[in-house]
């Protein structure tokens, strides 16, 4: 299943070009020590968009589910494929960043900016992968019951909703609303300072716990919904 996902994504010229472009753009903030500057999130959304719903809409899913495989196996395969393709994107970004850094160092006059170490890149990529893993499972969850690219749209809507609830609550001086927005964001879309955690600090902190809970919650919900879902095909 994971192999099929990779074939689908890497077989699509549009996806490959979009990811390559993002990898080139990400090289600049990566070299400047600013991480992926949100491009990792964008890349994950591009990869994950319609990861289950498009298979269901095309009828390919029904053909697969007529075979002796469990629905959970299919979902797990999609998830693993998603993570592997994301790792490929991260690796490509680092490769482009290192190559560009070396070219700039050779041709640019004046003092050469310090190149980042392999450990730095490793930490940045590991953090991006861990955060991407959560985003992937959220998109996967929405993809089990929404159509088309509704999964990515739902992620965007929820992100905006959580953020705006908090800001709106503060602006309207409604602390309960602000608190609700904050709680929703922290629990349903938790963000962890991976650089700190990966350096061995606050590993068992509250954000890490929320992250693990969210990962398990979305994964379980996706599996339960997908196992119960009915699929029709064609027309009578």
């Amino acid at each position: 299943m994971a192999r099929r996902f990779l074939r689908q994504k890497l077989g699509s010229a549009g996806t490959v070009i979009a990811l390559a472009l993002m990898a080139v753009i990400a090289a600049l903030p990566l070299n400047a020590g600013q991480g992926f500057a949100g491009l990792d999130t964008l890349a994950m959304l591009v990869l994950a968009a319609g990861c289950v719903s498009r298979d269901a809409a095309s009828g390919a899913l029904q053909m697969i589910l007529s075979r002796p495989i469990r629905r959970v196996e299919y979902l797990a395969g999609r998830y693993v494929g998603l993570l592997v393709s994301f790792v490929l994107f991260l690796a490509l970004s680092v490769l482009v960043a290192v190559t560009l850094g070396q070219i700039v160092a050779r041709i640019a006059p004046g003092p050469v900016p310090g190149t980042r170490s392999a450990a730095d890149f490793g930490t940045i990529c590991a953090g991006a992968l861990l955060q991407g893993a959560l985003l992937a499972v959220i998109v996967l969850f929405f993809s089990t019951f929404l159509r088309g690219w509704g999964d990515v749209l739902a992620v965007a809507v929820f992100a905006i909703l959580f953020g705006s609830l908090r800001s709106l609550g503060q602006a309207l001086r409604l602390p309960a609303m602000a608190r609700a927005g904050e709680l929703a964001r922290d629990n349903l879309s938790p963000s962890v300072s991976w650089e700190t955690v990966l350096h061995g600090q606050k590993i068992l902190g509250e954000p890490t716990g929320r992250y693990i809970l969210a990962l398990v919650l979305y994964g379980t919900l996706a599996a339960v919904i997908f196992s119960r879902r009915e699929f029709s095909y064609g027309q009578d």
Binding site: G59, R67, F231, S232, Y233
Partner: protein, 302 residues
């Protein structure tokens, strides 16, 4: 054996409910080929979806050899071809068949041999298999769909319009594959609008109408119902032939070109009619009989 007992299925919610299946009960014997026919929207695809476990009946139950349709042991011996071919268009024909061979739990070492054999059986050569599916014509997609469904010789076959969009040669190839599976003892459920093909391969047909199983016709075996027969003689002798057959007790209707239609004829009746004409020196150039499946689509006289 497939047992469908009182299955109902309704789509939609609140005020916009559509009853796709309404108390359907049916049994398909092991090794039997059953044709599902009926007008568009009759519930045939919904019934097939329930048989494959994609949909759950609201009421009633389905069992295949005593197990639920989505049981993995049932799926391990199921071949399925959907009407709408949801293929990964970027895959080559080879990769597509290999993927389904692996999904079916086939021996990885036998992948190349099995996929090549399945493709050969539907007339797709290795050159075609190397091409991506997006370059395939509709007929080629149907053929590779049939190859996919029959991979590993499954004992249960669910086919939804398998010959739709194929040329006459493709139709014959699909028919041969169905007959081959049938000879192997596979239980086949075929949903098709191509009535002549249904008649050629099915042992029995059931007619679905507005979600209900309204009629049933046995096409083969001792319980097979009467068929319509057409005899062809010289146009100038058609009148004489009609009179002879009427006198012999046949309900006969003459048509231009020397065609004689016999209603409700069994195989032995056709033989008797041919003999009657031959003994009166009326030549018979052609004699064929077929079940009048089209008749099932016509509303019963009120």
């Amino acid at each position: 054996m497939i047992v469908i007992h009182g299955v109902s299925k309704t789509y939609g919610a609140l005020g916009r409910k559509t009853k796709a299946l309404d108390g359907v009960s049916l049994e398909v014997r092991r090794g039997e080929t059953l044709g599902l026919i009926g007008p568009n929207g009759a519930g045939k695809t919904t019934l097939l979806s329930c048989l494959l476990g994609f949909l759950r009946p609201d009421t009633g139950a389905i069992s295949i050899d005593g197990l639920a349709p989505d049981d993995l042991t049932i799926r391990a011996r199921t071949g399925y071809m959907p009407e709408r071919l949801g293929f990964d268009r970027e895959l080559t024909g080879n990769a597509f068949l290999a993927h389904h061979w692996r999904l079916a739990g086939g021996d990885p070492a036998a992948t190349a041999g099995q996929t090549r054999a399945a493709a050969n059986r539907v007339g797709l050569d290795s050159g075609v298999l190397r091409r991506k599916l997006r370059t395939y014509s509709r007929g080629m997609l149907q053929r590779i769909g049939v190859a996919q469904a029959t991979l590993g010789n499954p004992s249960l076959l669910f086919l939804d319009e398998p010959a739709s969009g194929t040329d006459p040669l493709g139709v014959a190839v699909v028919r041969e594959r169905i007959l081959e599976a049938k000879a192997r003892g596979a239980t086949i459920v075929l949903n098709s609008h191509q009535l002549p093909e249904v008649e050629k391969v099915c042992d029995r047909v059931v007619f679905l109408e507005r979600g209900r199983l309204s009629r049933e016709e046995t096409l083969r075996g001792e319980t097979a119902g009467p068929r319509k027969a057409i005899l062809r003689t010289l146009p100038e002798l058609a009148g004489e032939a009609t009179a002879l057959l009427s006198a012999a007790g046949f309900a006969v209707r003459g048509e231009a070109g020397g065609l004689l239609h016999l209603a409700a004829a069994r195989d032995e009746d056709v033989a008797h009619a041919v003999r009657t004409l031959a003994m009166a020196d009326v030549p018979v150039f052609e004699a064929r009989s077929s079940a009048d499946l089209e008749e099932l689509f016509r509303p019963p006289p009120s």
